[in-house]
């Protein structure tokens, strides 16, 4: 029985405990989140004017890397869109216009200066520096954002971190341990605490499974026993802001479902 527990959640990050599955399943989730969930990013740019000190390619690269909030339900992937047009249609493309001239002295062009045709698809933050202009310099362009997948380009990756680790299990043998505090000192994550004349384990989830505590222990066999549960995981996701984190988890499962169904369908053909 799979058990998923949300332990920590902020706007852009989530920490899950996943129990009752094996590594291949959790790794599948991780890889799906990294490479298969579509998100919006600027893909094509028409530059009408650029007299800034950055050349067109750098400017466009910076626009491409700017994370955009994604409306997954209203847009199609270009390759799946019925329009089948290279340029795109209203269902597979969003236009963002940038038209800034430094009129009064030097100014910075921010992501907030981009005007999107759809208010649901806009830069995650308004304060990303795009370029700086001195008086009379001008940037005028139209950028086209499309859905895309992380396996094609990292700008379409909806996460800036997605990782898991085994659930640590630390046991201290009370008979062997003489509370010398060697493990307390060596642990980089402060997992151990000395309470009275005993060593106690405090922040098990912080443990990175480095096993330094076992090596540091002078006792033979080591009084600290560090193992991990092979069927329980601590799963961390950090979204770029393109999609809400819960949506990422749900979407990855949808994609897995779709992939398995098509696999089954093709398997039947073989038979």
């Amino acid at each position: 029985m799979v058990e998923i527990e949300v332990v920590d959640k902020t706007d852009n990050t989530i920490r899950l405990f996943i129990r009752g599955v094996d590594v291949s399943f959790v790794n599948t989730l991780r890889r799906l989140i990294l490479t298969e969930i579509p998100s919006m990013a600027v893909d094509d740019v028409v530059i009408l004017e650029n007299s800034s000190v950055l050349n067109d390619e750098i400017l466009v690269h910076r626009l491409g890397l700017t994370p955009l909030t994604t409306d997954l339900d209203s847009y199609n992937l270009p390759e799946e869109c019925p329009c089948q047009s290279e340029f795109g249609c209203n269902l597979c493309r969003v236009a963002l216009a940038l038209n800034v001239e430094a009129v009064e002295g030097t100014r910075t062009v921010y992501s907030g200066d981009l005007v999107s045709e759809n208010p649901d698809v806009k830069p995650v933050s308004d304060r990303i520096c795009i370029v700086k202009l001195v008086q009379d310099q001008k940037v005028k362009l139209e950028a086209y954002a499309r859905l895309g997948k992380g396996k094609v380009h990292a700008k379409w990756q909806p996460v800036s971190m997605c990782a898991y680790k085994f659930f640590p299990q630390i046991k201290i043998d009370g008979k062997l341990c003489d509370a010398c505090e060697d493990c307390v000192k060596v642990c980089p994550k402060a997992v151990f605490v000395k309470v009275g004349d005993k060593i106690e384990v405090r922040n098990v989830t912080d443990c990175t499974l480095c096993e330094d505590c076992m090596d540091a222990c002078a006792k033979d066999p080591s009084a600290v026993e560090l193992t991990w549960d092979k069927n329980a995981f601590i799963f961390d996701i950090e979204s770029t802001g393109a999609l809400p984190v819960e949506r990422l988890v749900r979407e990855s499962l949808n994609i897995l479902d779709k992939k398995l169904k098509s696999f089954l369908k093709n398997l039947k053909k073989v038979k």
């Binding site: 000190v53 950055l54 910076r62 890397l65 700017t66 994370p67 030097t106 910075t108 992501s111 995650v124 933050s125 308004d126 304060r127 990303i128 520096c129 370029v131 700086k132 001195v134 008086q135 009379d136 310099q137 990292a154 990756q157 800036s160 971190m161 950090e238 770029t240 802001g241």
Partner: protein, 77 residues
């Protein structure tokens, strides 16, 4: 770090998290004498890959723009 990074990169080179919107805040607070580590902590930057992006950055575009500003000044009397 690359020599041709003349303006703060939009994202961390290593993990891809957004840093382009944090530079101005960071630079201003450093100038006011705050401790860089504390500023990075308060900006919510946990990983050392992202922290070094701000910590080691030199905004060269500011130096380049000075030449253009100076030229402009000389053009218009």
């Amino acid at each position: 770090m690359e020599v041709n990074v003349i303006i703060i990169p939009v994202r961390c080179f290593t993990c891809g998290s957004l840093i382009g919107d944090k530079w101005e805040d960071f630079a201003m607070r450093i100038k006011q004498g705050e401790d860089a580590g504390n500023v990075l902590d308060s900006l919510g930057m946990k990983r050392y890959c992202c922290r070094r992006m701000l910590l080691s950055h030199v905004e060269i575009i500011d130096e380049i723009l000075k030449f253009y500003e100076e030229t402009k000044k000389r053009e218009t009397p």
